[in-house]
Symmetry: C2
Subunit: 472 residues, 2 copies
């Protein structure tokens, strides 16, 4: 087995806890490594194991078969910036000021970012001797004081915001994708930079090779830190438009460039797992795969599929917020399909518990420790999920019931529509949100209103980070 | 190994062919058994292995993992009677008179049925010594001269037409399902009979236990004919409304009675495979699972899900005609996901080839031998598929392209809409049929028109069986 270099005091504390708990004197097991792979704009229906009829994802499907495939796993926002803030902090983004109704995400002209007072997974794991690396899209503030290197990560390599920002000139991507499914974006039109730690090293980023390069950096990070517990956060910028794939992948999928880009992400996951096996770390590493929000369907064949779910990126229907999620780790994850609820909000508490460290105690957390479910327990501790648009609660799921107080299409000109009483769907019988049963279940609606009121009481006003302009 | 009792002359002929072909003197292998399980109104998205987020189908998923999961497998009609005629004859139903634009299926007041001049799979396999049994829903004519026992099957047990026909009285099922997802049908309102061979033995059929009873009859058939090659055609009447499940299954699925009924079909498949293993027949039996048409979405939670596909039962979009299909047989089927086209039209030629008998040579067949694909070949021989509504061609798939010349919702009051030029979808990039690319691909449309013209030249007028009234 591998030996972790962990501060002695920590080993002693953990060992004491174990001795106390089991009455036996085993040595403390080394805490596991964590790999979180976060795709961008990938739809619920875009993996083979989640029912895509065309796109092949053999590596991810293999992990799903050997681990846990979660069919009701949620992000905390259906757009990028708030979803990422929620994953890394275990808190609804309204608590960190990382969500806004007016400006839904951060832009190159934004001056805000994830406040340094927030505790990221990387920071929470540090006391247990973890080293953390971030690769790929950040989108939690591009000014130096907001970068990963200031949020607990020892290294970073990637793009600071979305790959379609800093659009310069050339044909209108959206117009082209509507009419030509084989349109391939010209990278020169996009001027997003690549940062290494805090330094701009390339502009515009060559996005053709970006998935491959993120992967190589991630593999280097694993090799470099094989002897201590690590947290690898690999946030691919694909399959957010404009779409690109490396030369080896372009034209390989019959589903076009979207399929090519998904396949390259699948390849990337396969390479990481291969390396974990090669280094003997596979029995001691938890790999999590999910995405930041649903598919951007407005981009036609350059957007993904929510499969059977209604809606997509930007809205609060299931297609916007339910993500194809896989937990894998032969020594940690008991194989099965999990139909109970989970969320990216739960990653921080789950990883902390597996690492044997306390999550932050001085603030409201919205996550639950999913460790027992990973180990084989039937019931998930997550019983409710609030779906925000900006600072407003649009929808709530409690058990199988989902109430929509406000609905609005993800993108497009239409205004919000308020519903009183709310629309009510029973998601286990009606996963596609087609049949409003609110009129027959006023008691459910009353119960959900109580949950919303209780949740609202936990909120405290904070400065909105997404509306802060760049300092001049 | 088991010994089949096959006429000596056949063994000699097959042996000679093998000797001639291979130059070696092996004994002819016994022809394999065939089990075709045909669900009713099951949607493309209704199995776990095809992406359903709630319904559990562990037995079918296991077969899918051990065998072939086909993601582009089509029926020849999106309603019941013509779809069944196509499966059993390997011919578009327009060739047998088993499709009608005015009356889409057979009813209790129909006097027609599958003409005795048609050759069913059961009849085609008979020369190789096969014994065939039919269990479940027939729907190819309920007058004695059209029953399974007159079409090559030695035995039959099931209902002669749909389980919602002979509706007598009581609440309007459709109205109730719209408002109460947990509505359970009262079997007394449905007066469909059960026939044993050609004799009515029960009326109304107790539909609560019907899936279990079909299964028991099928198991008895396998036990009785374990020593010779058999063809078992098990056509479940679930999950066609009204929905029922046995006591062991009611309330078991969080997806309601629809999920319960799917789970009982899954159980049924599991029992059949268990028995095949128990009798040592599993290495010598091909099991095929599919459904007759897409989900009847008008029945809300009592209808299924087409997953990512557009449309459903009764229409010619993918949701109406593409079915969740599994081929399993450890000695016959090479495990993989098959994304190429196949069809129920191909079953007759495929089973004939595996059995070593000629399909009928005196008539136009529309099927291809899928045996090479089952054995591991990449390319399917099926390159095109015509989608009829009644006697009219509404849509055509050629390779990845699908042209819609006419569209119309499956049920409901709206009239057919003609498209000239046709709508054109590229199904590999756009499996949900969202983006009409016809304007950019006139050459594809021209090619498809040629295929339609060539197909039309093979049609000859026949009497329409669905419009014949009951003799008085």
């Amino acid at each position: 087995m591998r030996a972790h270099r962990v501060p002695d005091v920590l080993i002693s504390v953990t060992a004491l806890v174990l001795i106390g708990g089991s009455g036996r004197g085993e040595e403390a097991p080394a805490p596991p490594n964590f790999v979180v792979v976060f795709a961008d704009d990938l739809g619920y229906g875009d993996l083979g194991s989640f029912g895509h009829p065309v796109i092949r994802t053999p590596n991810l499907d293999q992990l799903a078969a050997e681990g846990q495939r979660w069919t009701s796993f949620y992000v905390a926002s259906s757009v990028c910036t708030p979803s990422r803030a929620a994953l890394l902090t275990g808190r609804y983004p309204v608590r960190s000021g990382m969500t806004s109704t007016r400006r839904r995400v951060l832009f190159p002209d934004s001056g805000g970012g994830l406040p340094s007072s927030e505790v990221t997974i990387a920071e929470a794991l540090a006391p247990a001797g973890y080293v953390s690396g971030a690769f790929g899209k950040w989108h939690l503030g591009h000014l130096p004081r907001f970068l990963p290197t200031r949020q607990g990560f020892v290294t970073y390599w990637g793009i600071p915001y979305s790959n379609d920002m800093d659009f310069e000139r050339g044909p209108d991507y959206r117009q082209q994708t509507q009419t030509d499914a084989r349109f391939q974006a010209d990278p020169v039109h996009y001027r997003v930079p690549i940062l290494a730690d805090e330094r701009e090293i390339e502009r515009p980023a060559d996005q053709h090779t970006i998935t491959r390069r993120y992967t190589e950096k991630a593999l280097d990070f694993i090799r470099a830190h094989r002897d201590r517990p690590f947290f690898l956060y690999l946030a691919h910028s694909m399959v957010h438009i404009p779409l690109f794939a490396s030369r080896d992948f372009v034209g390989r999928s019959p589903a076009g460039i979207y399929g090519d880009a998904v396949r390259e992400i699948d390849w990337s996951v396969g390479r990481i797992v291969d390396l974990l096996r090669e280094l003997g770390l596979h029995r001691h590493t938890l790999v999590v795969f999910t995405s930041d929000n649903g598919p951007w369907r407005e981009f036609a064949t350059h957007g993904g599929s929510a499969g059977p779910l209604r809606g997509g990126k930007g809205d609060t229907f299931e297609g916007g917020v339910r993500e194809p999620t896989i937990f894998w780790g032969p020594g940690i994850v008991s194989p099965r399909v999990v139909r109970e609820m989970g969320s990216t909000l739960d990653l921080l508490p789950t990883l902390c518990a597996l690492a044997g460290v306390d999550p932050p105690r001085d603030r409201m957390l919205d996550g639950h420790d999913l460790g027992p479910v990973l180990g084989g327990e039937e019931r998930s501790p997550r019983e409710e999920m609030f779906f925000y648009r900006g600072e407003e609660i649009y929808a709530v799921r409690v058990g199988p019931w989902k109430a929509h107080f406000v609905t609005r299409s993800g993108y497009g000109p239409d205004a919000p529509v308020a519903h009183d009483p709310p629309l009510l769907y029973q998601l286990e019988e009606d996963p596609s949100e087609r049949i409003d049963v609110g009129a027959r279940h006023p008691e459910v609606i009353a119960r959900i209103r109580d949950r919303v009121a209780a949740h609202r009481r936990t909120l405290v006003p904070v400065p909105n980070q997404l509306e802060i302009p760049l300092p001049r």
